[in-house]
Symmetry: C2
Subunit: 354 residues, 2 copies
């Protein structure tokens, strides 16, 4: 069944409110989850709701956190997320950091005690729309090892950068520092497939092609990706006192993550008239796109461009929810008391739109 963007927003919000999230926070999370699905990043979309509910039941995700600002020097702030959704924490930190970046030209916030921050590109899009350049780092459950090591001590540690443009699509980089996510390896295992040796290592630190033996994810570009991931750890945790390494909760035990993030925002309009900055970004984009193409390529895409185009298409076509996901969400809503026994997915969607 295909659902519209508005239907997904209402569905997510309805389920989250039923799961005891305040209405405003539920709305915020629904925006980020729908962004994820409607930009083609299904791993952080509707499919995440079941996991979040499990985390709430296990006490590792607090739906009604006491989000607090614990440090404020003007251009630097620290926020404590009280183990609530990282999506809500980053969105709240974003608003304040934006205001400070407008005031000081550059500002930074750091956060601790947060669960997963969802689809990273959302924050890059938002910064671009607000005419800001933003650099966001966060750490995650530790699924990878230091270079030369075998223990799981480092997360998939993504880096997000958002840059506003004029006529062209904004540029938004959203990349993890591992070759793949653990979800991709689990999918291979479910389907009985082998995995490329570059994806993961076994418990002893040897590359493996057997997904059932995959223990730690391999960083991108060997020691370079490891070095980047270490610096994402530093930026995400050291300024706020968030957890790193063995202090991070275990995903397998649904422990509190206490992961951190940092958000640096720079106001380009303090350097030159905004239109001038955006025109230069446009010129950059066009210069790259006009390059001679390598064999097998018909077009060059700038970071984020594919997601912007995907969203344009999907806003028209809607998001095709698989039968499996539809059943999972319907069951979830019924279990939460948000829908009566026997409700089907179509009924659920129209109920929440009402």
């Amino acid at each position: 069944m295909r659902i519209t963007y508005e239907q997904e927003r209402s569905l997510v919000k309805g389920i989250l409110v039923a799961a005891d999230f305040p209405e405003g926070d539920a709305d915020t999370i629904s925006e980020v989850i729908s962004h994820s699905d409607f930009t083609g990043v299904y791993s952080h979309g509707l499919s995440r709701l079941t996991r979040y509910m499990k985390q709430i039941r296990a006490g590792s995700l607090n739906p009604r956190p006491n989000f607090r600002k614990v440090l404020d020097t003007g251009s630097l702030m620290v926020f404590d997320g009280d183990n609530g959704s990282g999506i809500v924490s980053v969105c709240k930190a974003y608003e304040e950091t934006l205001a400070r970046a407008r005031q000081f030209g550059i500002a930074m916030s750091a956060g601790r005690h947060n669960a997963n921050i969802g689809c990273g590109s959302y924050y890059g899009w938002r910064a671009a729309a607000d005419n800001m350049v933003a650099i966001l780092c966060c750490n995650t459950y530790a699924f990878t090892s230091p270079f030369g090591g075998a223990d799981r001590l480092i997360g998939t540690n993504p880096i997000v950068v958002g840059v506003p443009a004029g006529q062209e699509y904004p540029m938004v980089l959203d990349m993890s520092t591992t070759n793949v996510a653990m979800g991709k390896i689990q999918a291979a295992e479910r389907e009985g497939q082998t995995i490329p040796a570059e994806w993961a290592k076994d418990y002893d630190g040897n590359p493996t092609t057997d997904p059932s033996k995959a223990f730690s994810l391999s960083p991108i570009a060997a020691h370079k990706g490891y070095g980047l991931a270490v610096m994402v750890d530093v930026l995400s945790t050291m300024f706020s006192g968030a957890s790193f390494g063995t202090d991070i909760g275990l995903f397998s035990k649904l422990e509190k993550e206490n992961t951190g993030f940092s958000l640096i925002m720079i106001d380009p309009s303090r350097f030159m008239p905004l239109e001038e900055f955006k025109a230069e970004v446009d010129r950059y984009v066009r210069m790259m796109k006009d390059s001679r193409k390598a064999p097998g390529f018909e077009e060059i895409f700038l970071p984020g461009e594919i997601e912007y185009r995907t969203r344009e298409r999907m806003l028209k076509e809607g998001f095709a929810v698989s039968e499996k996901l539809a059943a999972e969400l319907t069951e979830l809503a019924i279990a939460l008391g948000a829908a009566g026994e026997g409700t089907d997915f179509a009924g659920l969607v129209s109920k929440f739109m009402a």
Copy 2:
């Protein structure tokens, strides 16, 4: 012949003064060049002097630039390097950015009209020694292509991050966003060797193992490294109006580079007592080093650790200058009138130490 750190400093300074650099700038450059050799990064050490001299003769490197601050909002600054050494530009920008980061907690400077900035790790070391977290980006001569493209439009675009520690070595990441530098491919060509297919592509954009056909360098981690390199371009050029893509001078023609940089500095002591921050960095370092080792590894190194240790060893042992490099430098000094005809390298070194 082995030379001491002090001998290298004097040698470099002497040659640069003979090449018309002001004494203070020559001293600054000698510090960064010697740092490079004494941390084992020979590509940016003494071996670069001949290239810099060629650039001066071609008019693409200005030894007596009018370095100017062209924008100052308090926590944001822009500097114009007047096509002087990027080493001098970044060092001068560094001093001012450090002062502003101490004042505001976070500060940023951007630079344009610079030649090569030398060994990136130097700035990370310096920030760590100054108890600052620094993020430095710069763009370079364009030697790589956008993902899916065949034209050379993007530099090797390094990222440097420096982080102070307490008892442990500071952490300093200094990584380019390509798999290798062009110099490594040229070395393979000189020695008649083939190169791995991941290093470079030919003029048409096909991977090549023939170093003589290598036209563009391949980014690390395919589209991820490309995305990172684009964002380094943005951070290095857009705030200052430095050149990018086809606007950058051609290295082969020794044209003016007009590359840019950006330096973000964050004062950790504004977040918590400095000793507390450093203790957490130490704890991070030890946690990584204590990891179980993967097969073939006896020790885990944090970013920059190998260079810190190399320097400790080389400060005792000295830097072994190859006969070829010694002859090249002696010839250079004689051509500049800094030494008489018939001077040998040992004589040159002792002359400059006098």
